[in-house]
């Protein structure tokens, strides 16, 4: 039982990282830390795929004319190359958004931002109401 649980330790690492990443995204109020969490979350998925692709004692898939060679599956690695590129693009876009938010709001804390938004929203509704009330009189 113990050996079968610990024997798949790489999966434990994957799910540990996955949970850390997801927790950071949900639990942190700082926009930058959320992106850090997202990156960790995505990285855990990369590890998951790589783990699938590895066979114990397997070699890279290069023909070597020996009949009984065990080859590891190269496809997960290729898929993850694509996923890494996607992850980099996501992170870059997220960081540039954080920069813009910081210059507009002067903060990257979620509470500050939603407080400012709430005031704006209130102003938007109230000011337009005042105008129409004034006109009715």
């Amino acid at each position: 039982m113990i050996s079968s649980t610990l024997g798949v330790w790489n999966y434990w690492i994957v799910f540990f990282l996955m949970m850390i990443g997801l927790f950071l995204v949900i639990g942190r109020k700082n926009l930058l830390k959320k992106i850090v969490g997202l990156t960790i979350f995505q990285t855990s998925v990369f590890l998951l795929y790589i783990t699938f692709g590895k066979i114990q004692g397997g070699t890279p898939p290069i023909l070597n004319n020996i009949n009984e060679t065990v080859y590891s599956n190269p496809l997960p690695h290729v898929l993850i190359l694509t996923a890494i590129v996607v992850g980099v693009a996501t992170t870059a876009l997220g960081l540039s958004l954080v920069l813009r938010i910081n210059s507009e709001y002067g903060s990257i804390e979620e509470e500050d931002i939603s407080a400012q938004d709430l005031i704006d929203y209130h102003d938007l509704i109230e000011t337009s109401k005042k105008i129409s009330v004034k006109f009715k009189k």
Partner: protein
């Protein structure tokens, strides 16, 4: 020449907007870049019509990308199911581009307009690719292309209103989580079956029974796509993203973005997995069905209390997505077909409503709230009439497209012994009249605070007239939509049941 085009249509319909987006970004003249975008979307629309013809005259097209034969290579699959969202996306993107000509420069700096059109085409290419591809991992790549492009498009609203940036940020984070969940699911399924081709995947899944990794993979995929499709309660990113995006972008995204994801949801539930499987049946019955009913009411009630009109329409979108997933969840052929009918009609309705509201916002040049709608209806009669027709369509009044889809959903739910579901649909439709009337009342019956001197511009209302015409046309003669939807449902469920 024509032969080669016909043979390569499945890839051309994706590649045309993708490649043109690279050219559009280089053009510095704003009008030219718009014209080129319009031209590209028109070509894409023509290609999609040709594909429709091919699929219905001959058979489903399976296109081997780079001549690598599926299931090893990437397959682009156009069949009677996937052609419906392709037509929706191509049609709406053409109309939205037409609509954007005057609206876009009003909200976005002159220097960034050609970049916006480039992102615009990229988003369209991503959405069409998402629907066309028959490969699970390729689907993820297109999912990310479309979502990154639309996040950047939403963020362009930040030039006018800083809230757009936060909306775009939330959209990005939740979109990335959804896509990553989907990839985890695909990874687990790949680990079990060793294939990524959706058709092949479904064959191999049928051979496996009682595997925990399969259940986990299914869960991850469905949750990821539900997050992308904004199924209640995973809708939290949607209202803000649609409300603060630039006007033309709201039209495009509201009408197309969630539709593509809903199609993928249907594909996973009915085509990759088997509806006779307990896993799918339980998911539909105990998860998607209650959530859809909640969405119908929660979306409508949030819309009733909302004062910002673009947000109001976005909340109503959540309710409408609820109708579609409800139709899928009932799980009979008739109801899945009804879901596809509503998929098509809702794209027309919501596109038209967003067009009408944002063109009102263009003339008064500020954010549209319920209070400053006063008197606009009398000042701009054409837009107002279109708005009223499409509102009636949303509420499901006869002679409009919305009526047809409600009719079929209700018919399907009654024939599946769900009279209480039919009753709930009617109740939620009745509630939706409340918020629609709230807007119409403000537009027509309230006095305007100041004399409004508005001259409606044909560049703006022509697209609105076209889409309103389609709303009426498909309300009078829905045979094309209904027939294609039933064909689609037959194909999705036919073999299994």
């Amino acid at each position: 020449m024509i032969d080669i085009i016909i043979k390569n249509l499945p890839i051309l319909v994706v590649l045309t907007p993708l490649m043109m987006s690279l050219i559009v970004v280089l053009i510095s003249n704003n009008f030219l870049s718009w014209l080129l975008t319009l031209f590209t979307t028109l070509i894409t629309f023509i290609f999609s019509l040709l594909l429709y013809q091919e699929v219905y005259l001959h058979t489903a097209i399976s296109y081997a990308l780079g001549n690598w034969v599926p299931p090893l290579g990437i397959e682009y699959l156009i069949d009677k199911v996937s052609i419906i969202p392709i037509i929706i996306i191509a049609l709406i993107s053409f109309l939205a581009t037409f609509f954007a000509s005057k609206i876009m420069p009003a909200e976005i700096n002159n220097s960034s307009i050609s970049k916006v059109y480039s992102l615009w085409l990229l988003a369209i290419a991503g959405l069409i690719g998402l629907v066309t591809t028959g490969d699970a991992f390729n689907l993820f790549v297109f999912l990310e292309i479309s979502s990154l492009a639309s996040v950047a498009l939403v963020a362009m609203g930040g030039q006018k209103d800083k809230q757009a940036l936060v909306a775009a940020y939330n959209y990005l984070i939740l979109g990335a989580i959804g896509a990553t969940f989907y990839v985890i699911g695909v990874g687990l399924l790949y680990g079990i079956t060793g294939t990524l081709n959706l058709a092949d995947l479904s064959n191999r899944i049928a051979e496996i029974s009682d595997n925990k990794a399969l259940i986990a993979g299914f869960g991850f995929m469905v949750i990821g796509i539900m997050l992308k499709a904004a199924v209640f309660p995973l809708h939290i990113w949607l209202p803000r993203a649609y409300a603060y995006a630039p006007s033309a972008v709201s039209v495009l995204l509201a009408a197309t973005a969630t539709k593509a994801s809903l199609y993928i949801l249907a594909r996973i539930l009915f085509s990759v997995f088997d509806i006779s499987d307990n896993l799918v049946t339980y998911t539909l019955q105990y998860i998607i069905l209650p959530l859809s009913i909640l969405a119908m009411f929660a979306g409508t009630i949030m819309a009733i209390y909302e004062k910002d009109i673009k947000r109001l329409l976005a909340h109503s979108s959540i309710a409408q997505i609820g109708y579609i997933t409800l139709a899928f969840a009932i799980g009979t052929k008739a109801s899945v077909a009804a879901g596809f009918i509503h998929l098509f009609n809702h794209a027309l309705i919501k596109g038209a409503l967003f067009m009408a509201i944002t063109s009102m916002g263009f003339y008064i040049n500020k954010r549209i709230t319920i209070n400053n709608l006063s008197g606009l209806g009398r000042a701009m009669p054409i837009t107002f009439v279109c708005f009223v027709i499409c509102s009636l369509s949303l509420a499901g009044i006869p002679l409009t497209a919305g009526f047809i889809s409600k009719l079929y959903i209700i018919k399907a739910s009654i024939s599946a012994d769900g009279i209480w579901i039919a009753f709930l649909i009617l109740a939620s439709s009745a509630l939706s009249v409340v918020y629609l009337w709230k807007m119409i009342e403000a537009l027509w019956f309230h006095e305007s605070p100041k004399v409004l001197n508005i001259k409606e511009k044909p560049e703006i209302y022509i697209a609105l007239l076209m889409i309103t015409f389609l709303n009426i046309y498909f309300g009078l003669d829905a045979s094309i939509v209904v027939n294609s939807s039933f064909e689609a449902a037959n194909q999705l469920l036919g073999v299994q049941k």
